[in-house]
Each structure stands twice: as structure tokens, then as C-alpha cells.
């Protein structure tokens, strides 16, 4: 049994390392880093960005993702909201939007708050039936 723990940990570490080195090669769209390093070669290609709304005018919205600012046509959103944008990259960091999903700032924050409540619920329920024995490094059921 004691052999299993390092083996499993090694397997997990290998999986994470594999993901770290291969992640970008398997993404369907160019990364922000790639776009920033060679912008012109990606003009006309589909991109997917996740960023924060940095500015809104009557005609456009500015989306900040990484160190880049992209412009899209106006959508009903506010500064600080998070957005997922799928679209075609044009000149001057303009994206012709094909699909967009907006997370309102408060709504995004509330998701974390709800998750904290869920975590507390789980901790309460779990610790009601299990306790951790540090010496044995095992959980034992409460009687």
C-alpha cells in the first residue's frame, strides 16, 4: 500500500507535466502569446479569448485579455464584466464576433460565494462522519 502513494503521485505529476508541455499544441485556437508575438499571421483566423470588459462605448466594447486589448462590436455589458469571445481576428485587434458569453461582474463573484457555501456544507457533512487521525494519517469513521 505504501508503494501505491508515490506511484500514484508520480503518475499524476507525469500527467500534469505532459499537459504543461503539450497544452498549447492541442488548443483549437492560437493563444494570446502567439497572437501577440506574430499578430499579422493570425489576421482572418478564428480566436477564442476570455477577458475582462475594459471599456464600453455606444458602438464598441474593449476586452482586455492578458496584455492585449481587443475591440468587438457593442454588446450589452458593463466595465468589469467577464466575457468569452469566439470570433475572427481582424486588423487593429478587432474581432468579428461569432459567439459571445457575458458573465456579469457580480454574478461571477456570487458563483465563488455560492461555492464557499457548498464547501462549508461539505466540510460540515464530511466531518460529521469522519475524523482525521494524524498519527495514522488516515480518516476514521466517527461512532
Amino acid at each position: 500500500m505504501k508503494v501505491l502513494v508515490p506511484l500514484l503521485a508520480l503518475a499524476m505529476f507525469s500527467l500534469c507535466t505532459y499537459s504543461y508541455f503539450e497544452f498549447e499544441h492541442h488548443l483549437p485556437y492560437p493563444t494570446l502569446k502567439e497572437v501577440a508575438s506574430n499578430y499579422q499571421s493570425y489576421v482572418g483566423e478564428r480566436v477564442f479569448i476570455f477577458g475582462t470588459v475594459a471599456g464600453v462605448t455606444e458602438e464598441t466594447c474593449v476586452i482586455s485579455a492578458g496584455n492585449l486589448n481587443f475591440t468587438i462590436d457593442h454588446i450589452p455589458t458593463r466595465v468589469g464584466d467577464k466575457v468569452e469571445v469566439l470570433g475572427r481576428l481582424g486588423e487593429n485587434y478587432r474581432i468579428a464576433v461569432e459567439k459571445v458569453l457575458v458573465y456579469e461582474r457580480m454574478s461571477y463573484f456570487m458563483e465563488f460565494c455560492r461555492s464557499l457555501v457548498g464547501a462549508a456544507l461539505l466540510a460540515f457533512f464530511f466531518l460529521m462522519y469522519w475524523k482525521f487521525k494524524i498519527k495514522k494519517f488516515k480518516f476514521v469513521g466517527r461512532k
Binding site: 499524476m12 500527467l15 492541442h26 477564442f48 461539505l122 464530511f126 462522519y129 469522519w130
Partner: protein
């Protein structure tokens, strides 16, 4: 999807299953619930991002079935019956992926076949990730179920012809352990709950 929905969904499922499967104990349900949030270890990435560390690429495998299974295997070794614990944690993280498959994204999604295939997707696109709906639905169902179980546990204690073991089982299906202690006590018959 938030953790309220992730934690309560397996609780609801297990509690309903418990009515049929007497062997399923509350402490085992707690393990299923724990398993249900295992893939969201990736949420650590938010914390790391706040510290200026970009670990998304490294941490991604935790939100895949293979990665979650490895984590479940490691955690299960910390429990007395590790095979049973692993099974319960696996059921838990399966519910996680089932719920996450309902989510809506502009594109992409989960890489369920990682590391064998890097296909991103597997989303039905029904619910926005920040939606309150799953949490509200699960809270309502859980509250109704808890109320029904509480009522049946109280009734079980009052019905005279109920055997000791049956009474203990019904009261054990209610989540508060103190009820178990009182379950074995025979109470005077009451006409209120016989219907």
C-alpha cells in the same frame, strides 16, 4: 457550476438510493460528496493567478476523468476500506462531470478523453456557468427530501410494530447522527403518523 449544486446533487441521489440500498451509510454519502468536488481542484488556479502564477496548463489534468481518478485513488488510501472509498469517490466525480457537461461556453469545454485525446467539448450548452438555477433547484429538492426523511424518521420511531432494525435504518437515513441513538428506543404508539 457552483459547489452547492455539485455537493447537493450526489447527496440527493444517494439519499434516494439509500431508501432501496440499506447498506449505503451516511458516511459513505459523505465520500461521494467529497468526490463530487475533486475535479475542481483546478480552482486553485484562481488563487495562483491572484499570486501571479499561471498554472492553468499544469493543473488542467485534475479536471479530467483520468486525473480525478488518480486523485481519488490517492485519497481513498486514507480511508479504512480503500476499494469502497475509491468507488464512492469515483461515483462522486462522475456526477461532477455529468453536471459540468450541462454548461454553456462560447467554445471549448472539458477534455474528457485526456490524455488519450485532446478533444475539447463535451458540453450540452444548457446552463451558463454563473447561473443560480442549479443551486436553487438542488436546494429546493434537498430541503424537500430532508423534510420528508425527517418526517419518516420521526414516524418510524412512533410506529410500534416496526422492528428495531427497520426503525434504526429509517432513522439512519436521516442525516443527524443523534437520531440513531434514539432510534432503538420503542416509543408509545401514536395515531398521528400512522397514515
Amino acid at each position: 457550476m457552483d459547489w452547492i449544486a455539485h455537493v447537493l446533487t450526489p447527496w440527493i441521489g444517494c439519499k434516494l438510493l439509500q431508501l432501496k440500498l440499506r447498506k449505503l451509510m451516511d458516511r459513505e454519502i459523505a465520500l461521494v460528496m467529497l468526490g463530487a468536488i475533486l475535479p475542481d481542484i483546478v480552482a486553485l488556479n484562481y488563487l495562483l493567478q491572484a499570486l501571479g502564477i499561471g498554472a492553468e496548463r499544469f493543473i488542467m489534468p485534475f479536471h479530467t476523468p483520468v486525473g480525478a481518478a488518480l486523485v481519488a485513488a490517492m485519497i481513498s488510501l486514507m480511508f479504512p476500506k480503500w476499494k469502497r472509498a475509491f468507488f464512492l469517490l469515483t461515483v462522486g466525480f462522475a456526477t461532477h462531470f455529468a453536471l459540468d457537461s450541462l454548461l454553456l461556453h462560447a467554445d471549448g469545454g472539458m477534455a474528457l478523453l485526456f490524455p488519450f485525446n485532446w478533444r475539447w467539448g463535451f458540453q450540452l450548452g444548457l446552463i451558463p456557468p454563473d447561473s443560480w438555477i442549479p443551486a436553487i433547484i438542488t436546494i429546493i429538492i434537498a430541503a424537500c427530501l430532508l423534510s420528508a426523511l425527517t418526517k419518516s424518521a420521526i414516524c418510524a420511531l412512533r410506529i410500534p410494530h416496526l422492528t428495531k432494525s427497520r426503525a434504526a435504518h429509517v432513522s439512519a437515513s436521516f442525516c443527524v447522527p443523534s437520531f440513531r441513538k434514539t432510534a432503538n428506543r420503542r416509543r408509545a404508539p401514536s395515531t398521528e403518523c400512522r397514515d
